[in-house]
Symmetry: C2
Subunit: 435 residues, 2 copies
């Protein structure tokens, strides 16, 4: 099938394209063999990878030092450098993450449903690997190993497209993983690092129809929309979270306070952090002054509408919210605050500005909660709890490859079963279908 994005190919991008397609072909072939690997074999493989990472930590740290030096020289911020940095203990964590994944149940082979049809045909829908999964990501080199672990455990091959700032670190990690693949009798093409210096490699990856079964972009809104716009292979969008907490008239003030503080300040750079607080007008005067003081004391800048500013009064400094604030995923110590007239007004606001990630209500009113959970359309709708719980680990999945904010295939935290597809097995005894 022709590809959408083949204009303006120059020679360099054509070479990149050949690299990507050849990696994808290798991955497809390797994945076909690997699909039937038993859980025993896969778990042993992940354990051997964990051992090798610990044993060869020196190589990894040397490569990482090279990336860090390049980052410092190019003026990378301290926060970025910290995300890039690997230490002995971070390598140990990454290795232990692989052992955790090895300990999780194998999704492959699970019977999702099954029955015997009236004519005696036996029908079973079973999980099988997707095939070749592409991951496009930024920053942290630990994603390289985490993503490889999850895709291998679920029987897939993986094409990794990391950021150029972590090029050496990622190369060192992948080289170790591939050595273990070969030592364990598997094709090294099950794990491939794609060229990261050319932007076009993303395009070639996401247009490799027939070779790549799924691409998951992990990163900021810019990365995700680049992937979605160019892709002709299936994509699962992850992670943009403009999450709201709505505090109802019937909220318990203590619970509201706890939930809002936790949802905003626990970690601000994550997609499940709250970005907007909506307060029922009848709760505004009792709740907002103290809560604003506490938030402000914790370093949060409050971007308020007029009614919220009025309720807060002198309790804390505020800055007037602009129209953009309601649509902004701050990922920082900022919070937009508005006063609303009813649960329905809060839901209307969320419907206009939400990104379908996580939306919370704090209320003791059963009817308000029922209306909110029924009508609000998001991957997770949370009642009287922090938005921070939307997470594969917290949900008991044991791991997470991202949080899907789309509706098809997977919605919310994605772990091992979400990296599989199914096939129907139909067993008969010479059965034919009447005309």
């Amino acid at each position: 099938m022709p590809e959408k994005s083949q204009t303006n190919l120059d020679e360099s991008t054509d070479a990149v394209r050949q690299d990507v397609l050849s990696a994808a072909r290798g991955a497809r072939e390797a994945a076909e063999q690997f699909a039937a690997a038993t859980r025993e074999t896969k778990d042993a493989l992940l354990a051997a990878m964990a051992d090798a990472l610990s044993r060869r930590a020196g190589e990894i740290l040397d490569a990482n030092e090279f990336d860090l030096t390049a980052g410092r020289e190019s003026g990378m911020s301290e926060a970025m450098l910290d995300r890039l940095k690997l230490t002995e203990s971070r390598v140990t964590e990454v290795a232990s993450g692989l052992r955790t994944v090895a300990g999780l149940p194998d999704p492959v082979g699970e019977t999702v449903r099954g029955n015997v049809l009236p004519n005696g045909l036996e029908l079973r829908q079973v999980r099988v690997p997707l095939g070749v999964v592409g991951i496009v990501y930024e920053g942290r080199p630990n994603v390289t190993v985490d993503a490889a672990g999850l895709t291998l455990k679920s029987g897939n091959a993986v094409l990794l497209r990391g950021s150029s700032s972590a090029a050496r670190s990622n190369a060192a990690l992948v080289s170790i993983l591939r050595d273990v693949l070969v030592e364990s009798g598997f094709s090294p093409e099950l794990v491939t690092l794609l060229p990261c210096t050319e932007r076009s490699s993303v395009r070639h990856l996401v247009t490799a129809r027939g070779l790549v079964d799924l691409v998951i972009p992990r990163g900021g809104a810019g990365l995700i929309s680049t992937v979605v716009e160019q892709a002709t292979v299936p994509v699962i969008e992850t992670g943009v979270g403009n999450c709201h907490v709505y505090v109802d008239r019937a909220a318990d003030t203590d619970k509201a306070r706890q939930v809002v503080i936790n949802a905003k300040t626990r970690r601000v750079s994550v997609c499940n952090a709250a970005e907007t607080l909506l307060v029922h007008r009848e709760a505004a005067e009792t709740l907002l002054p103290d809560l604003a003081r506490e938030l402000s004391g914790a370093g949060v800048t409050l971007h308020t509408d007029e009614r919220a500013a009025e309720a807060i009064g002198d309790a804390a400094p505020v800055t007037p919210a602009t129209r953009e604030d309601w649509d902004t995923e701050y990922l920082s110590m900022d919070l937009a605050v508005a006063v609303v007239d009813s649960p329905e007004a809060a839901m209307d606001h969320i419907s206009r500005h939400g990104t379908g990630h996580t939306e919370a209500i704090v209320s003791e009113d059963v009817s308000a909660v029922r209306r909110f959970t029924t009508r609000v359309n998001a991957a997770a709708v949370v009642v009287n709890a922090s938005t921070a719980f939307t997470d594969g680990g917290q949900f008991g999945m044991g791991a997470e490859i991202g949080i899907s904010t789309q509706k098809l295939h997977a919605r919310g935290p994605m772990a091992l079963p979400e990296l599989t597809t199914t096939k129907w097995l139909v067993w008969g005894d010479g059965h034919t279908r009447p005309r």
Copy 2:
């Protein structure tokens, strides 16, 4: 998010675009309200639609007569005219299809999984409607009503893009459905027929990101690839089936004969019909002469490789297979036939030429069957039964909106649950997440 396909808009297509986007916006708004409709309400709606279709059959047949006349004048084939033709009894069938769907369980609200987390949070993943579903289809006007019934039952709004040859019939049907929506107190925008005379309306539908949640193309390979290539909204590919039957060395000859005859000749125009027969070399001489005679007698043209031709000998006329035959979904009384050396050779052939729809093995050898069911990667893998069973009705789903040949979200026959997504409901009591 910008759209991919906005080049070369001329004025007429711009008007079409406005029509499509305005229908999509109306559908989205209507879908938001409709998502919470109870099963009772939805079943009553479908029953009222069925009644109205029967009551107003005259209008439908008049409109259909207009399409038929236009078709005859433009030189449409008898087969095409027959697919387009509605009769009193076909209208009754369509209405009774709606009643069947009304009788099926409502997928919305079903708890897919749920548990209580160690910290006491209650977690439930429940099915909710997708929102707005687009269907692009050809030929038969009954698809208009079938698709509307399934999408409404699963709580969605539907945008229908039928073929221009059925324009009047589809308009009559949709007008009746919309009248019933209004009489039942629902928005008529839950069911909208898009302009069908302009090709560009498909493009505008499949690029309406943020308004349309899913597009399902139903039709031939050309229609499907047009949709997939242009789409920026999620698409589920359906129906291209280059299905194989592999008859193993250890096959029971009678079962093999029954299965092959049924898979090829039951109905040739459907996607689950067999297009290629692969026979183990040790079964070729016993099986092929009689089977070829029977197939040929039923009107099937055999496209054979050299070894198959040799095994068939004088038993039936054959024509040498070209390279294209192995990749052709005939949808006609044609069958490609090859002799292979082993189950593995059959699987290699299927891996190269299959479309991931339905692949069958006929064998009494447990090991060969196990290898085949494990390695063959398709929506359905069938043992000792006809490929014709891959069908929502046959699988006991009560209905079918298409057969997905892709791996994400749904694979194989799609019915009501496949027209939903899920959301996580998280209930706490002031729960916060530790740092």
